[in-house]
Symmetry: none
Subunit: 536 residues, 2 copies
Amino acid sequence: MTRQRLSLFDTTLRDGAQTTGVDFSLDDKRQIAAMLDDLGVDYIEGGYPGANPLDTAFFATRPDIRARFAAFGMTRRHGRSVENDPGVAALLDSRSDAVVFVAKSWDYQVRVALRSTEEDNLQAIAQSVAAAVARGKEAAVDCEHFFDGFKANEAYALACAKAALEAGARWIVLCDTNGGTLPHEIERIVRRVAEGIPGENLGIHAHDDTGQAVANSLAAVRAGARQIQGSLNGLGERCGNANLTTIIPTLLLKPEFSERFEIGVTLEKLTHLTRISHALDELLNRAPDRHAPYVGASAFATKAGIHASAVLTDSRTYEHVSPESIGNQRRVLVSDQAGKSNIISELARLGVALDKDDPRLSRLLEEVKLKEAQGYAYEGADASFFLLAKRIMGEAPHYFHVERYSVAVDRRFARNGGLEDAGAEAIVKLRVNGETRISAAEGNGPVNALDLALRKDLGSYQRFIEDIKLVDYRVRVFQGGTDAVTRVLVECADSKGERWSTVGVSANVIDASFEALIDAIVYKLLREGAKGDNSL
Amino acid sequence: MTRQRLSLFDTTLRDGAQTTGVDFSLDDKRQIAAMLDDLGVDYIEGGYPGANPLDTAFFATRPDIRARFAAFGMTRRHGRSVENDPGVAALLDSRSDAVVFVAKSWDYQVRVALRSTEEDNLQAIAQSVAAAVARGKEAAVDCEHFFDGFKANEAYALACAKAALEAGARWIVLCDTNGGTLPHEIERIVRRVAEGIPGENLGIHAHDDTGQAVANSLAAVRAGARQIQGSLNGLGERCGNANLTTIIPTLLLKPEFSERFEIGVTLEKLTHLTRISHALDELLNRAPDRHAPYVGASAFATKAGIHASAVLTDSRTYEHVSPESIGNQRRVLVSDQAGKSNIISELARLGVALDKDDPRLSRLLEEVKLKEAQGYAYEGADASFFLLAKRIMGEAPHYFHVERYSVAVDRRFARNGGLEDAGAEAIVKLRVNGETRISAAEGNGPVNALDLALRKDLGSYQRFIEDIKLVDYRVRVFQGGTDAVTRVLVECADSKGERWSTVGVSANVIDASFEALIDAIVYKLLREGAKGDNSL
């Protein structure tokens, strides 16, 4: 049987921006677009140019992606022509490949929310689509509230979809905007729509308000739709959008879908999915959902004794797919081969060869487990993992020894509450090249001061570290309260464009930062081939 | 149309105990059983008596519940008689109303995992069920791996179900043990089974490994099954069991189900569901899922300006059911995309009335936008938003004035890198009740030390703040580098169970923490009705 192509449309950067607690920066958007493109989605919806300065800036240059870059916005407003609508102009002028117009398709909404007429709404759809096509852009129409609209006035909902198609829209996306439609209703309605509009032009946009966004998306595909809109990790307003991190493995690994459909994500890229999912959470400083299907830390975890032995005897008993296929791993309360092979492959990626029978591998595995139990996370800190391996392999030289450091923050406030004094100080005393050196620095905050003092005078090593730039610094606190365990992730870059990440863990944010900063410096020295200090 | 009765079978205390990170105490089990009973489920599966001391103790006395109390365990083992099987004896001797026998129904598993024969397995099912019935207990059989078994050997899977029914089992529960079956497969297979076994004897037990446990449960009901097994908040092994917290409102509020079925949970009890869901998380010290359908804090949250005005005009646009029906509430988020309507509705939720023509509202809106541009985020910090509003309205008294604080971290390291000295110190000097007071404290880290020093002596206000507990502390850094802007979010709770969140922003993590901690204290004083200090 010839397999049909299913299109994946990602809205992490648009509908995902509506997630409570999520605030993308421009750099976040660029990084996420690159991650999505690498994964292999077909469309990346970047935002709503013209609606806010961030999205306008993001659409001012086209990111270097293979996927189609889509801009979202409204059809021309009631009472305006397409040419005279600044919203439409912002869409057409954006550096996008595709424009997605959101349009009402529920007659009640057209009257009440738009205060427009049914006929004008149809014209707005047709004219907006035609304008985008005339500008050489692919056009899509998100039919808002389509399912509620269809139940209320089937003919009008269908007329909206037809108007879009006839004006040249590539995709007519049926949106379950308030997320309340059930899978069997979706299936029935999409089948009806597909009688008039070819399935290869139909998309589905589902929300998780009844916990069924994934089921709704797959039901629509079974009924004929050929595009799925969703987001990484199910980001999105209220309960979130359909979770592509769940849908993609289902499409690739379940024969019911993989035998009938093909998608842009390859089986090889699928093995990156767990890492990508966690990297997104890391970027947004959200705790990953341990119980997420496929990619959650517990998705292949077995706790019960009987289940654990069963899963080791025959993994099919408690694993519906293999954890390796999505780059995840089985977790059972016994030391297992899966752990070793993961470590070997991660080391190979970092250019370190270690044989699976080398006793140092078992020690590394033990150490990683011990450290992760303490709160370390090597997934987002490959330089610290590299150093840990090098230390256990006896291949990490000593360069310098910090004897002490201290940081102080002192604040005085005026009667009106204004800050009279600002800044923080740090002192670092260390031995290097057989001498003791002491450096002090002021910074905006204690960690900045410590970082500056630490990198001020490393003796003969100073020339190797001059070009280190701290590009990211993130803090996560576990177990609640200021006395909880703090994990700091630091990302550095150098003038060659290399980037590396390190991790530190402590009850104290300063200590955790110190540990990560030291790892960042030592990693750079090691990579530069600096010789160890024999006097230490 | 006469509505049919659907039975709800809760397995929070049995399958839910397999959740990674969940460890019930005996008291937890008793409290959760009481919560479930109050909600109105039909069965409460308490655990596996005989398998561990906790469950044996829990089944030694019957909890005072209206629901049927069910004990879980295996059918008699291969090579033993029912009378000589201590596992079966533990079940029959337990103070349960019902016994649930888990039985293999996949021929492959019978041979490989049980090392038994197909025929002996059928006899084990029949004899075990008969023994329970003879002891006056209701019997049920969980057919493990039923769907995989059915696909592999339909006749044998059906024979297992029939053996249970003929021996007198009240319920034959079809289990999707590894969670990999898709909704349309569930529907097709349950329909086939229901041709031979009455639907009123069929149950469904689904897991969330493809994110479709809810859809799978509802598909089974549509195909004829009349019992749903699930857990509160979707607790359970790996990705969890079918989430009753999602299924119950769907059954009660969606006409597709509510017109055809009735359940033991009333509409009145449904309004307690959000509270029950959060209380369970509280008991287990888990962070509630903000995005959970129906009961999540964000389930009815709207962020975007256009959506916000639409949802306030006509709630149907973005609300598929009314938040009040499950005891949840609408939240219109205050963010830089906010308009006046967002702010008014958020203020109203916090008990502050402000007219839309009041000039202070425009000032508040300006101030929110300015602060958010600096990095503040009020959508996760309602107490800071409340204080900001009160300050602009001139209704925030002055309680105390911090004149200065200082924090210091001092570290010395041994030659081997080991830390010789740990801890951090803080000093806070403040004016309160016309006097200057100075307090010092040690903590695990600088923020903890500052928090302790700050709350050590607030003079006459001390009694109001004694019961403040810091329950969460989060840090996010923007714009990269240790000299970037740091946002700290602090969540506090008091002995009344009230929770409030505050925010602080600075280049310095200590200053940002200080600001959030001060807001947390001032909010509490304001809520307690403490009088301002006129000497300031």
